[in-house]
């Protein structure tokens, strides 16, 4: 009797710690998801553009950081601003050179253009770097922070969580408290009235596209140490960021950030309770439920 009680008590403790650990893991992954989704949400909020090249931009951020690490030995945790800068320029140029000329055309044109761009970028990277995968090895990778005997946090995930969190707050502040942010929100509210108020719509939209792309690039840089890279690596994150943007309320950047954390935790708990093969299915079940029951998203109806 005693022994059976002891066992069930032990299994409860085990269950409890497993759950806490899964939530922690989910938050750590979710912070990166959130950063990716915020970039996409900013672009969607200001321009109503669904950027199908977002995953390719993330991949470019990974390669930029990888090249920096290979040539100078600078760790991605210091090198991520470079990925952000490179992707800002690419995003800005993409808007000015490719998207601006087709503004006002049907949305389908924009979808085709960004999809085509994603293919060109992916194949271009493949031509330059080859299809082979790469990974980097830094000392921090083998560091684990152990809380008691049951809970552990892998140091690189914690560092990337911290950086992503700071950047998310900065991005939120930029959108809500600066002239640029006010202009961007004005465009989001009424694209036709904004220029009448003296807002340079093209400039603001190009900067928004640049910042949104930079967020994907930085997320890629932070993902590099704990993952690996190959030209098609961005695809899975592209799909997930659609889910998060919808979940967060189309175009709401704070909603997208929270949606990232929620999705990370949901995936992790699904994986713990039901098994890993269900994690992706649950993502899309949420996607369909939100679209059909509350299309404005779960978190806030306000747009960027």
């Amino acid at each position: 009797m005693l022994s059976s009680q002891g066992r069930s008590c032990g299994s409860f403790v085990n269950w409890f710690y497993s759950t806490i650990q899964a939530i922690l893991n989910g938050l750590l992954t979710g912070a990166l998801y959130g950063l990716i989704a915020m970039g996409m949400a900013l672009i969607f909020g200001v321009m109503r553009i669904v950027n199908f090249a977002h995953g390719a931009f993330l991949m470019l951020g990974m390669y930029a950081t990888y090249v920096l690490f290979q040539t100078t030995g600078i760790s991605p945790y210091y090198g991520f601003p470079l990925a952000g800068a490179v992707l800002f320029v690419i995003g800005y140029a993409t808007y000015m050179g490719l998207l601006r000329p087709i503004r006002g055309q049907v949305d389908f044109m924009v979808i085709l253009l960004t999809m085509g761009l994603a293919l060109i970028i992916t194949d271009g990277v493949q031509l330059i770097f080859g299809a082979d995968y790469h990974q980097i090895s830094i000392p921090l990778l083998s560091k684990n922070i152990r809380l008691g005997s049951q809970i552990s946090i892998n140091a690189p995930w914690l560092v990337s969580f911290a950086i992503a969190a700071v950047l998310a707050v900065v991005l939120y502040f930029v959108v809500t408290h600066t002239m640029f942010g006010r202009a961007a929100r004005a465009i989001a509210q009424n694209r036709y009235a904004a220029p009448l108020m003296g807002i340079n719509v093209n400039q603001v939209q190009a900067i928004s596209f640049g910042i949104g792309s930079a967020a994907a690039g930085v997320a890629g840089a932070l993902l590099l140490p704990v993952f690996y890279l190959f030209p098609e690596v961005g695809n899975q994150f592209k799909l997930k960021s659609f889910v998060m943007v919808v979940l967060g309320g189309m175009g709401s950047i704070q909603g997208a950030a929270i949606a990232g954390l929620v999705l990370g935790v949901v995936e992790s708990l699904t994986s713990l309770y039901w098994g890993n093969e269900w994690a992706l299915a649950v993502d899309f079940v949420i996607f369909i439920l939100v679209l059909s029951l509350k299309p404005s998203g779960i978190f806030g109806s306000q747009r960027a």
């Binding site: 899964a22 893991n25 299809a131 082979d132 990974q135 083998s142 098609e232 708990l269 890993n276």
Partner: protein, 401 residues
């Protein structure tokens, strides 16, 4: 009307170009082209590249000896981009446009399973170098031949090894949700049941995820003595790194080869590095294998790539070797004749061991069990091939350096 006149020269050019293409392909006066489908790009590119290196070495050897039937041999590659639908397109292209007499490939079990019905319908012999899923041989097709041992042999070899080395009683299987993963999952589930092992957990996962910690935590909660992985390279590295993070400590980490047997796996730059240490894997071949020509192949491979080969490269090499032997003894590149000759083929001595296909087209190839010791794969089973003794139980993560 004007436009119509413009069309005529276009059509003429197209016809000439088309005819030119046709004349330059297939089995012409001076060359014999052999079709190859593999994954040169995409997530399995590391293995596709290993294939290509193996094929290249075999091709050089064949042409150095004067080619086949007095003609130079060329390889006609089709990259399936690690996607089965592309592999199917590849077979159509190789057969319908290039008229190759025989095809080698694909790399993955997923792609290979997809092309088996196509080669059967087109009546072209297919030599399978690496696909271990047993369903690639299960269609009853008279046109497929497989060099490597299948997932059933992987499971029985692993269980044989375990029974003779500590005889553990509980097992968990962790497998990718692809044909390769699920075939090994099924084979091991059946073999474990027959061997009386208690299967305490079976986890299936989505490939190329950054986070498997919750999956590994589930395994840890079931506390199995043995974990059996069926994973490709990228996930093998992620799984072992994260196994350390969650401190999953089974007595034996075993695996269905592939990612856990790739040359890159024990290296820190392209694999799991020190986290690969002590993992067991089935293997089809190693540079240290006793068969004649193994070390020569290793040297040639090293000269070509500056790395040592894993069995995937050797299997590609052996596939081309056996294809060449069949064409040579058939004295023909007619598909039907080549197929019938393959049935009769009996190579007593190759670097991949003796090769002979049974009635289903399967080559009876022995399976080895290796362990990563000091960053190197060492054969630990069967006893007559063993280089080192196995290190059991696997040291707990907290007690490693």
């Amino acid at each position: 009307m004007k436009r119509f006149y413009l069309l005529i020269p276009c059509l003429v050019v197209m016809l000439i170009a088309g005819a030119g293409c046709h004349g330059g392909s297939g089995d012409n006066a001076n060359t014999i082209r052999i079709g190859v489908v593999t994954s040169l790009t995409g997530s399995n590119a590391a293995f596709g590249q290993a294939h290509k290196n193996g094929y290249t070495i075999a091709l050089e050897e064949i042409n150095a000896k004067g080619g086949l039937l007095g003609k130079k041999v060329e390889l006609d590659y089709y990259d399936d981009q690690s996607h089965p639908d592309q592999a199917v397109q590849g077979v159509s292209k190789l057969v319908d446009q290039d008229h190759v007499p025989i095809i080698l490939g694909a790399y993955s079990s997923e792609s290979t399973r997809a092309i088996v019905p196509v080669v059967t319908q087109k009546e072209i012999p297919l030599i399978i170098p690496t696909a271990v899923a047993d369903n690639v041989m299960g269609t009853g097709s008279a046109w497929v031949f497989r060099i490597c041992a299948g997932s059933g042999s992987f499971a029985t070899a692993t269980l044989d090894f375990l029974r003779n080395n500590g005889d553990p009683k509980t097992l968990a299987i962790v497998s990718e949700n692809t044909n390769f993963g699920q075939s090994n999952n099924k084979s091991m589930t059946e073999a474990a049941k027959a061997a009386g092992l208690d299967l305490v957990d079976a986890e299936t996962y989505q490939a190329s995820s950054p986070d498997y910690k919750s999956l590994l935590q589930r395994v840890k909660n079931k506390n199995p003595e043995v974990v059996y992985f069926a994973s490709y390279l990228l996930d093998a590295s992620t799984l072992m790194r994260q196994a350390e993070q969650v401190r999953l400590n089974p007595k034996y980490y075993t695996s269905a080869g592939t990612g856990f047997a790739a040359a890159e796996f024990p290296t820190p730059d392209k694999g799991a590095g020190k986290y690969a240490e002590y993992t067991f894997s089935v293997s089809q071949w190693l540079p240290s294998a006793k068969w004649k020509g193994s070390s020569e192949f290793d040297q040639k491979f090293f000269a070509l790539t500056n790395t040592h080969p894993a069995y995937h490269a050797m299997e590609a090499y052996a596939a081309l070797l056996v294809a060449a032997a069949a064409i040579d003894s058939a004295k023909s590149t007619q598909s039907q004749v080549v197929r019938d000759t393959l049935r009769q083929i009996n190579l007593a001595e190759t670097p991949f061991g003796p090769m002979k296909f049974d009635a289903t087209g399967q080559n009876a190839h022995p399976v080895l069990v290796t362990q990563v010791q000091g960053g190197q794969y060492k054969v630990v089973w069967p006893p007559d091939a063993a280089e080192n003794k196995p290190i059991i139980p696997t040291p707990e993560w907290s007690k490693r350096q």
